[in-house]
């Protein structure tokens, strides 16, 4: 008891006791340790190695006619391939880029003007926009229309109206032949 009582006597440098210092430093160390040990739990929820293993998708473009659109799956997501008509290409190129919400030139979004390849996931909250099937509502810009909250994309799949903040993204892809691409 007396030992304990003596160690509690205030040591008057800096206003704190040795005990205050020990409690604070031990507490801080414990808190940091606890915070760090949370990380494995959180990171375990990130995509696992097998999920991450990058997959690629190869697409033969020959059967697609001018004006036709095709949906293929890449990493579980739909990718829209659009063989655009000359009118659609012209509409996409004639837009005043500075007037766009997510300004991008059509030429920066395609490798060949005839072929538009974009990830078909609405950048608002992830629905699949309509426009791939012949009878679909394509919205007032002739591109795609997202039924969930009404985002409208043009023939370059750029956002024109509605809540989506950005254009449909262009996935990494290459032409492996004149009429074949590899996505991913």
């Amino acid at each position: 008891m007396t030992d304990l009582a003596q160690s509690q006597v205030r040591v008057e440098h800096g206003g704190g006791t040795r005990r205050d210092f020990l409690i604070l430093s031990a507490g801080a160390l414990g808190a940091v340790g606890a915070a760090i040990s949370v990380w494995p739990f959180i990171d375990s929820m990130n995509p696992a190695r097998d999920t991450l293993a990058l997959s690629t998708t190869e697409v033969d473009l020959t059967p697609i006619q001018v004006g036709q659109r095709l949906t293929v799956a890449w990493r579980g997501k739909p990718v829209f391939i659009d063989r655009r008509t000359p009118d659609e290409i012209k509409a996409a190129q004639d837009v005043d880029v500075s007037s766009l919400r997510d300004p991008q030139k059509d030429s920066d979004r395609v490798k060949k003007p005839e072929w538009l390849v974009v990830v078909g996931v609405c950048t608002h909250l992830g629905c699949i926009p309509l426009g791939q099937k012949p009878g679909d509502d394509r919205g007032s810009f002739g591109g795609w229309f997202c039924p969930c909250h009404g985002s409208v994309y043009d023939t370059s799949a750029r956002i024109r109206q509605g809540p989506a903040p950005t254009n449909l993204p262009v996935p990494p892809y290459d032409f492996t032949a004149d009429t074949a691409i590899k996505i991913g």
């Binding site: 959180i42 929820m45 990130n46 995509p47 696992a48 999920t51 949906t71 799956a73 990493r75 579980g76 997501k77 739909p78 608002h124 909250l125 992830g126 629905c127 699949i128 926009p129 309509l130 039924p147 969930c148 909250h149 009404g150 509605g162 809540p163 989506a164 903040p165």
Partner: protein, 433 residues
């Protein structure tokens, strides 16, 4: 330092006041002396003094507790038959519906039970708003209630994903994508939630794990909610504190019987849904297996999320829409401080008495907008209703408390009850015994 001898708790020399009364046998007394659960229950459930004047709006708390138990019991048994895998989940739910004995009943009770749970809790909350139950000293009681609402919303959303139908899949996609509105780290958060590049099997697995555990977290918070409630007791339709024993009656038998009656009425309504309209509140698209390549032309959440969904869609900006939607729930946390009126019950607030009904009316308008496609007049109506929702909490509530002149409050609950009620015979013979 107070020294207590081992094995002899302080004050145990005489019989503790909390020991069960003479009606109990020796076994009960033996147990209670060592594990005072019986006297605890007696104190908190049987003898628990309750205001004499509670009306039927006060039934919904106990109803919510009962439906929580129903959800857990049906959920645990459903879990025995359900398979949380993206390629098996849908079929396992269909198997529950067709092959498992009474599986259809368990699922329909669980499915419609979620709707009933929200209906009850929304009414319970409106009761609180109308009678000012969130005011001093019950602020934390109210806040714990809002925490329960948030947990319920999370649980119901996670559960809705489990059958892995089209609505499940796309609800999961849209809701998780809301977090992509967070600046800078948004996309990483969404990937973390999914465990992949889209909603998929890892997502389903973790949602199942969380759907199983959250209801038990709710049970714990309900426990705290009740501790806070019993600290100061129930509010009442007059909104004035009890002044003496004449203002209270024991919970049992008076309110146990009233709650039982309310429960019976509720179970009839519940049974009508389960047996005659089991899919009325649901969406037929959820009987189509999830298809990550096709969004249904018109996706809507369950009815209990529609008002919030309408708020989300009313804002033509992604981040702001998400912020307002979450804000619509979180603003409830501030209600004890937004309402500046010193008077609790709307009965004595001539203006708020009417204004308080505008909120549920507004919520119904929002729900109706949320159920319809986001075009034409619906957009405008949705924006007006969204505006009113926040106007109600942020402007009307603080302002009315300042400018409204409340009617005089009765001197006591007893006085008001006697003045309002029919003449009472000096003492009914039944109550003498």
């Amino acid at each position: 330092m107070a020294v207590s001898q081992p094995g002899v708790p302080a004050g145990s020399s005489s019989t503790p006041a909390s020991l069960p009364g003479s009606g109990h046998g020796r076994l009960v007394r033996w147990i209670d002396h060592r594990l005072p659960v019986i006297s605890f229950l007696e104190h908190e459930l049987t003898a628990y003094p309750t205001p004499v004047n509670l009306n039927y709006w006060w039934n919904f708390g106990s109803l919510a507790g009962i439906i929580l138990v129903i959800m857990i019991v049906t959920g645990v048994v459903l879990a025995m038959h359900y398979t949380p895998h993206a390629s098996l989940a849908f079929d396992s739910v269909e198997r529950i519906m067709r092959d498992v004995n009474y599986g259809w009943l368990l699922r329909y009770v669980h499915m419609n039970g979620a709707s009933m749970f929200f209906l009850i809790v929304y009414i319970h909350m409106f009761r609180g708003l109308y009678y000012g139950s969130y005011k001093y000293p019950r602020e934390l009681l109210w806040i714990l209630g809002v925490v329960i609402l948030l947990l319920m919303m999370a649980t119901a959303f996670l559960g809705y994903v489990l059958p892995w139908g089209q609505m499940s899949y796309w609800a999961a996609t849209v809701i998780t994508n809301m977090f992509s509105a967070v600046p800078l780290v948004g996309d990483s958060i969404v990937t973390l939630l999914w465990g992949g590049f889209t909603v998929g099997n890892p997502t389903l697995n973790r949602f199942y794990s969380l759907h199983y555990v959250l209801p038990f977290v709710i049970v714990a918070v309900v426990g705290l909610h009740l501790v806070a409630l019993h600290q100061h007791g129930s509010n009442n339709p007059l909104g004035i504190e009890r002044r003496g024993p004449q203002d209270s009656i024991p919970f049992h038998p008076y309110y146990t019987i009233k709650d039982m009656f309310g429960l019976s009425v509720f179970l009839i309504v519940f049974a009508v849904f389960v047996f005659y309209l089991p899919n009325f509140l649901g969406h037929p698209d959820n009987y189509i297996p999830a298809n990550p390549m096709v969004t249904p032309p018109h996706i809507v959440p369950e009815w209990y999320f529609l008002p919030f969904y309408a708020i989300l869609r009313s804002v033509p900006d992604k981040l702001l829409g998400v912020v307002l939607m979450f804000g619509a729930v979180l603003i409830l946390f501030l209600v004890p401080w937004l309402d500046t009126s010193p008077v609790r019950s709307a009965r004595f607030r001539p203006v708020y008495r009417w204004v308080s009904w505008l909120l549920p009316a507004d919520a119904i308008v929002l729900g109706w907008v949320g159920a319809n496609p986001p075009s034409g007049a619906f957009v405008v109506i949705g924006q007006i209703a969204t505006f009113y929702y926040f106007f109600h909490f942020l402007i009307l509530m603080p302002l009315l408390g300042k400018i409204e002149r409340p009617r005089p409050l009765p001197i006591s609950i007893g006085a008001a009850v006697l003045a309002a009620g029919p003449p009472v015979p000096a003492a009914a013979p039944m109550e003498r015994r």
